[in-house]
Symmetry: D2
Subunit: 341 residues, 4 copies
């Protein structure tokens, strides 16, 4: 089959011909790819940023946001059958460790991450596990939802966690209305009645945010902290969801946070650097957010089937992977680029 | 009556003769002081550290950890009566704002803080509110529990909040087994079955911790991070309660924290300074902790009456306030110094 | 002023001339009534059903669903001022007992209930407490929201409590789409993404439910249990909110409940009568619901101001109280009858 | 191997010679039995009470409370190895359904129950799954903990769930200090500081309860409801844990419950039969409790290893199964009877 592979760092990806993966273990599931999301992390992988962390041996097939149709299943698989439309959770988890048994499979003690440390989905077929596939509603197509498998899932996880504490009358600031942020906004609208204030440097992103449910849009032009404080009666917001995490976002975000508020860290880059005296005297919390669990992905697919969460996508044939990466690097992709074999 | 007052910053406190406070409003409660805790914050006040924040006009009576007997009550007071033994919550709260109505009175939008921004308890009598007094069990004496009113209450609040997530098999690291820490340890023992690992620079404090319930004591001598990781199977602890917050405690504490763990900030001094990538990839949380609510104080008094929380105290006559402060400053007080009028 | 009073049980209400209530205590608030909801409970009061429970001395002014404008305030009132538009929480609570301090003021150990055990709001003025008044948004008018003060608040409380456990993909059955039910449906739509299945005997009520957000309407005509089980894949719903509680509703409702599900009891009349073996083998819960807290009422007013919760009302001049009661008794009121002085 | 089998209902069990179970699937685990608890359910099985529910084909091997040593494992098993001491969770769960993925494996959509619907542990060997075995601490022996696998696990589950809401100062009534109750009491002592009031008809059971941590013991002799109300200031207890569920226990238990309290149903036999008006006006909850999850069993094993939960046992050779059953039926067993092959 065709597969797009990392053959060396600081080199371009290469289209290769590799064997179709086969079912070996009883819980194996082979998925025929219907869409594979092209993610900024893929660019970072090519730059070698993940080389040491993942320890993956080259060449290997890249791509960690995948959806498609079940092609073959192992003997013990009962939750999907050949032909089912599925989205693929980014992790293959063990199901036996303490975290997995508590439903917190993201912290599995023995997980694999296809596309990062083993063969991924820029290919015609992908091998994953019964524990990683979620059946899609008839109304959803693999290429439309593939990018929800990782970026969208992370946004869902953070927004749903934040929503558990948000009551009517609370305000939630969303910093960053890009790829993750615009999913987060839709999730918050679906799960809470909180007032949403969306902050972004890009005026178009702010407008998009307003069109999908933001109650207030604020362009981050220097006066945004004051603007948010004005919108919150001078008190700050009960919750800040920071999808940026760099370029001063955390300093600004903390200044927008109310006493006893929750600061959700999702985007990354800079340090959280806050005096402990400020943390205790305002009694604020910093909440880390990694990708969502399998259960989170099931819930996100419900919202997608209900048309409460929509993703803008631009599709490319698998062979045009280089165009997709180039467009992404150059900021020419509106929404997410999807490779379709 | 006699009262010990701040007459100027960087000056010594002075014993003054002032009028006994009187009931003016319907919820006023005047307490005859049975014990007033001497706290490091009192030294900071004298150094002027709180001058701007509190905006208090000098001279005023200091002392924010108080217990005694109800001397007089306003017309609307129904929860205590003259003669009742009480401990005094450090804040006078409004009862009407959003935070108060939710039971989260520590974040009251219009609170007063006797001993900080209005007359406190280094005196024969103190005026407070019906919303601030908790009746004591017959078995407890004001001078014995006074220091639980603020330092103890803070430790209770943090430990009880941490305990809500701790399950059997979890490990909880307590950094600092001093004034707050040794209350925190007793509270954790009362509320959870988690394994307690206590870290302190002082060998005697570690021994004390072991005698009151720590499962493991670790002297912070440079190898303590490694020691804690060894005690937690190399994974780190599910929870860290940091009663120190300075001198590198937070860097060490974060290194002791397990994936998906909670870092409770209680002590303060330095910054939490952690890369956002570490916060999200381990999905850890930083939880701020201020003093406890009125309900927290009620619960702490239950534990005290059950003899599950004990405090070491050294009493001084009110007139010997200077000795108490000197002893505290010189590290000569074991437990807490208490002024008794 | 004019006031409508109970002068004897099994007698008609009588319009009387009584003194305007005056501020006596520091937290008293006198409200000029803008609207008073006419509730089935008022009919039950007249029938003497509450005589013993309330112990109220006749004659007294009836009416427990009130909204209006602040007319006068006691010396300690800081949360409202003369002229403010307010809705009135049905209880006057003490603010000092354990329940009040925890934010759970509905379980106040010393509450009063105007309209039930003291003078209510079928009048030009009502005396209540600072702890009972919630300021209204500019967009809301007292007569429009008065009936949210009790019936609406109960529905909000139950629906918001249920919503805390509902995740996307869960199903929630609402039994009864009448006065409370149709508020509950709107609240559930605002706070969750769960699928709503509404069951009512009345076809029109089912149609109304569908028009305000029910995903599925089921007419309770004998086949409704089977219909709900079909709609839930044969498993039953994760949550049942029962606003009826009589006429066999609970037996049917339990049959619609999934393993590990929550059955919210709101309406009343018959017994919950279920074998313990069924409760434990399916591990289901029965959750009682009383009226909401002050905080619940604040949240409900946010939803009303956001136009997420709307109430149908029919207004009557205060003097036409008998017409309103007659119309209610005869089933001629669509939505809620409101008396306007 | 030797196995004790049900050969017909209303017949005695029979010792048979059957093949040793073998590993077939990748997650299979064969355990060499070290102890098998003899449970009242086993008597009910023989009486045919479970015949229809389980649909099991006779003859089959009985016994659902098992512990021992790992004898053989399937190819995918990573959490235990040959020779490990283990306790066996009573259910074999699928790991793929919605409940399993949320950590709530007791509600698995496709579970098996060895000893009930497939071969159990009154035998030399038992086949179970990697998902069902919990490694034991070195300090624990299979025969000592076997009865914690089901009866103890149920008690742990209910007590730990109740403990989540219990704060210092709360009162918890435990009805029934027998097999489950005396485990529940020990769990509550380990996890909460709540005051425990234990009610039992049997004076010896009450004494035992007091010796393992009950703060108050009450003999159920007719005055017990009044006694509990006295012990709770006339208000009733915040929580009732009912391990009896028959003979009027639920009527009495509800009468002991405070407003806003939780009634945990664990024992069964009679109906919960309570007017909805009482449920809503006191806003009480009835919480069902089935056996605990795998995670619950892990936590219970921590408490056992910490010596916080102890079980009285009487051991019998496997061949003496009839003596054990006879002693149980005649009330001659103190604690739990354990068969040791």
């Amino acid at each position: 089959m065709k597969a797009v592979q990392v053959v060396g760092y600081d080199q371009q990806l290469r289209l290769a011909d590799v064997p179709v993966p086969e079912v070996a273990g009883p819980y194996d599931v082979v998925v025929r790819i219907g869409g594979a999301g092209v993610c900024r992390t893929d660019i970072h992988i090519l730059e070698g940023q993940w080389a040491e962390k993942s320890g993956v041996a080259l060449p290997y097939t890249i791509g960690h946001e995948n959806a498609g149709w079940v092609h073959a299943v192992g003997s013990a698989v009962t939750n999907v059958a050949e032909g089912d439309k599925v989205i693929v959770h980014p992790l293959i988890t063990c199901g036996l460790c303490r975290a997995c048994r508590a439903g917190d499979d993201v912290h599995c003690a023995a997980s694999q991450f296809p596309g990062i440390d083993t063969a991924g989905g820029y290919a015609e077929y992908l091998k994953t596990s019964a524990r990683s596939v979620v059946k899609l509603d008839d109304s959803l197509e693999p290429a439309d939802v593939a990018a929800l498998a990782d970026a969208g899932l992370t946004a869902y996880h953070a927004a749903a966690k934040a929503a558990r504490r948000l009551r009517p009358g609370d305000r939630c600031v969303v910093i960053g209305a890009g790829g993750l942020g615009h999913i987060g906004i839709q999730v918050l609208k679906a799960l809470t009645a909180a007032e949403l204030i969306v902050v972004d440097r890009n005026e178009d992103a702010v407008k998009l945010a307003e069109s999908i449910g933001a109650d207030h849009g604020v362009v981050a032009d220097g006066g945004h902290v004051a603007a948010v404080r004005d919108l919150t009666g001078g008190e700050g917001a009960e919750t800040v969801l920071d999808f940026v995490g760099e370029g001063g976002a955390t300093r600004d975000g903390v200044a927008m946070l109310r006493r006893a508020g929750d600061y959700h860290v999702v985007g990354y880059g800079e340090n959280i650097d806050v005096p402990t005296i400020d943390i205790i005297s305002a009694e604020i919390n910093f909440i880390g957010n990694l990708v969502g669990s399998y259960t989170d992905l099931c819930e996100l697919m419900v919202l997608a089937a209900q048309d409460r969460v929509r993703l803008h996508t631009a599709t490319y044939p698998l062979e045009s992977f280089q165009d997709a990466l180039d467009d992404l690097a150059a900021g020419r992709v509106r929404g997410r680029a999807i490779l379709v074999p």
